[in-house]
Symmetry: C2
Subunit: 420 residues, 2 copies
């Protein structure tokens, strides 16, 4: 969608844009101060009256951010991370030019605020994650998870609808190829053998289970998920493909796993587990994993402990938290699991998100029919912003392979992952 | 060396063996209790009077441990981890059969003592690491590090005398091939390019620097080490090979590094750094590493935090501490270094130690001439015990690759390590 055209549809914005007058001296000092504190991003800010302020005087801006009214400017000065997202969704802020590049500039800038500055501390306080799910979050959870399979089918890979980072074994892969390649990469990492019993914690639409049975000869996959709609879809798909005898999609919490398995996998669930529950996750794995079993945890992470981006945490994924590797080790230490391999494929998530964004944008009209313009803008910002977050290195994607500490049947080298 | 022959030379032991009498009721209960607490190791204990007690009544012992006198038994009951090592060195304890296998049984047993048992707590207190280097440790440091190049040359690889874990790209490699292969593996992991400036923290006898210059075209290597004897050897070797123009061996602490580098490596130094100094190591790396630089730390580690084996910590490497991955992350977090890759090659250390042990045993006569029988026994126990420690999974070997958090020139996959 052309950005300008998108804006023209926002009549709410057009009316607000008529608020008159330029910046007061105070507003100008505050805005200039914010741009300075953010280390002069390569952006320019265009105000409702047409005035343009450049973040960097020496470098060309990658994008122009239009602030349509004085209220949006105030909100940006108070809490740029949170409110700029809201105001973009509402059309009170518009980006002209490269959306991802613009967000990279903003995230790099916010990241460079000194940790102990008053502004940084104030933002941390305002953007602190909610300890409990409040009424406000419920609406957001509902918006994210109950959007329905028809919506996700529009822009995720068509084969298995994997809503997690793909693995581009070759850089020119399509999203379908890269998602398949991710499952193969995971299967090789856990040395999946024909007949193996696999337990999966958090299975989304169930693609991993079907792939492991179809292409790697898994004997049985028990895949846990608490989303009814996803489990219903996964079961139907397994039945349609004649795989339902070897796959059990369990509508239950991973903490209720029982029995035993050769392989434990969890792809993209840890983000929602909460650090305080990592030892409990370790207890579950210790309960079910056989003596020579292998495990893999695939999760978004951080280089340094910090909360999730405030807008994403509050508007998209309430309660989500990307942990550091040190924090993730709380899963493994108590039972002396041995971490065999950690791979950081952050750049693959940037590429995955670009593929999702391309496909989302090519279906924007349909999305607008299903929802509304605000939803289209919110979702575009979320996908573009997530890509920018991985590109600036604010988020990582870790795949952690582990086994029991005394198991000497672990692979001697990682050749089996590459010499295929 | 034949174990029996070794024993016969220990006249001190022979005289002690004449202490008469069998076990008292109390001694028998204590010894039986220790074997039970250690989950019935597949060992038998043969007393000075010929009486034999089997750890496991159902399984064949892998070795027989001869306790030559009542004093050695007492010491074993009080602190098996520490004193059994001392008494083996003194010949008051002898192992008949597979030494490494016997030590694996002991370490598995000690490891299975419940963490909160009185015995386990007492052992932790007795074996706590010394906070400072006391007079007693000085003697041990001296014994380990000033043994001289002639001693280490007897059993380390002949090419570069690398006193760190090798990498067996193929399982049938010799120690020379595997040490070369380790250096190649490290060079590929840091994507070493011709002309790169490399800083090395803790360089041993300097083999990495020479290999990087000779075989990977490093432009300049500055390698830091505080051991005078090792630095002298390394400088002579570089001169002899005509490499001294491109290698600077610096007799100084890594904390005094200045300037900047494309590659930072540290192979086998972290064990002696101390967790409390990890943030300082991170500061050093942050000071010297260029924006697109790569780093690698290679170190012994743990699955769960615990002190070093007491005998090794007190008799061989005072102050040594194998950290967990979570602890190692303290090097990287503050400056938001991005951990790209962690590989655990613990089984390679078991194989490295077997190669060292084989070569050491084939030169035992020479070692006995240089030192004495107690030294031969102590060193044999140290090498065999270290191998057993890696085999039972009590120690790990981590290679951690990292880069700056915002660097998007990091490799997309790990293909470059394997498709060569």
């Amino acid at each position: 969608m052309d950005q300008k055209e998108g804006h023209l549809q926002l009549t709410e914005t057009s009316s607000r844009a008529e608020e008159g007058g330029g910046l007061t001296g105070f507003e100008r000092r505050m805005l200039t101060g914010l741009l300075e504190a953010c280390e002069h991003p390569k952006l320019s800010i265009v105000l409702w009256n047409g005035e343009e302020l450049r973040g960097s005087s020496s470098e060309e801006p990658v994008a122009r951010m239009h602030v349509r009214d004085r209220g949006a400017l105030f909100r940006m000065l108070i809490n740029p991370e949170l409110y700029t997202g809201d105001d973009y969704s509402a059309g009170r802020v518009e980006i002209e030019g490269d959306l991802v590049g613009c967000l990279e500039q903003i995230f790099r800038g916010l990241d460079s605020l000194p940790d102990k500055s008053v502004k940084a501390r104030l933002l941390r306080w305002m953007n602190r994650p909610r300890a409990n799910t409040l009424a406000g979050s419920k609406e957001n959870i509902h918006r994210h998870y109950d959007l329905g399979n028809d919506f996700y089918r529009l822009w995720l890979d068509t084969e298995a609808m994997q809503y997690t980072c793909a693995y581009y074994a070759r850089p020119d892969m399509t999203i379908e190829q890269a998602q398949r390649s991710k499952l193969d990469h995971v299967a090789r990492k856990v040395q999946l053998k024909p007949g193996d019993v696999v337990y999966e914690a958090g299975c989304g639409w169930g693609g991993l289970a079907r792939h492991f049975v179809k292409h790697h000869g898994a004997g049985k996959v028990r895949a846990f998920n608490i989303s009814e709609e996803q489990v219903r879809f996964a079961r139907e798909e397994a039945r349609r493909q004649g795989l339902d005898g070897r796959i059990e999609y369990v509508l239950d919490d991973y903490r209720n796993m029982s029995g035993e398995c050769d392989v434990f996998v969890s792809v993209g669930m840890l983000e929602h587990v909460g650090v305080e529950n990592y030892p409990a996750l370790g207890d579950v794995i210790n309960r079910v994993l056989k003596p020579h079993g292998r495990g893999l945890v695939h999760s978004i992470g951080r280089n340094k402990a910090a909360p999730m981006n405030a807008w994403i945490e509050k508007r998209i994924f309430p309660g989500a938290y990307p942990a550091t590797l040190a924090q993730m080790m709380q899963i493994f230490e108590e039972h002396q699991f041995s971490v065999l391999d950690v791979e950081n494929i952050r750049l693959h998530y940037a590429q995955t998100l670009q593929h999702w964004l391309d496909r989302f944008e090519s279906h924007e009209d349909k999305v607008r029919e299903m929802y509304d313009e605000r939803f289209v803008r919110m979702w575009r910002l979320y996908l573009a912003g997530s890509k920018a977050t991985f590109l600036v290195g604010a988020l990582q994607l870790f795949q952690i392979v582990f086994a029991r500490g005394q198991d000497n049947t672990v692979p001697f080298t990682r050749d089996h992952l590459y010499r295929i």
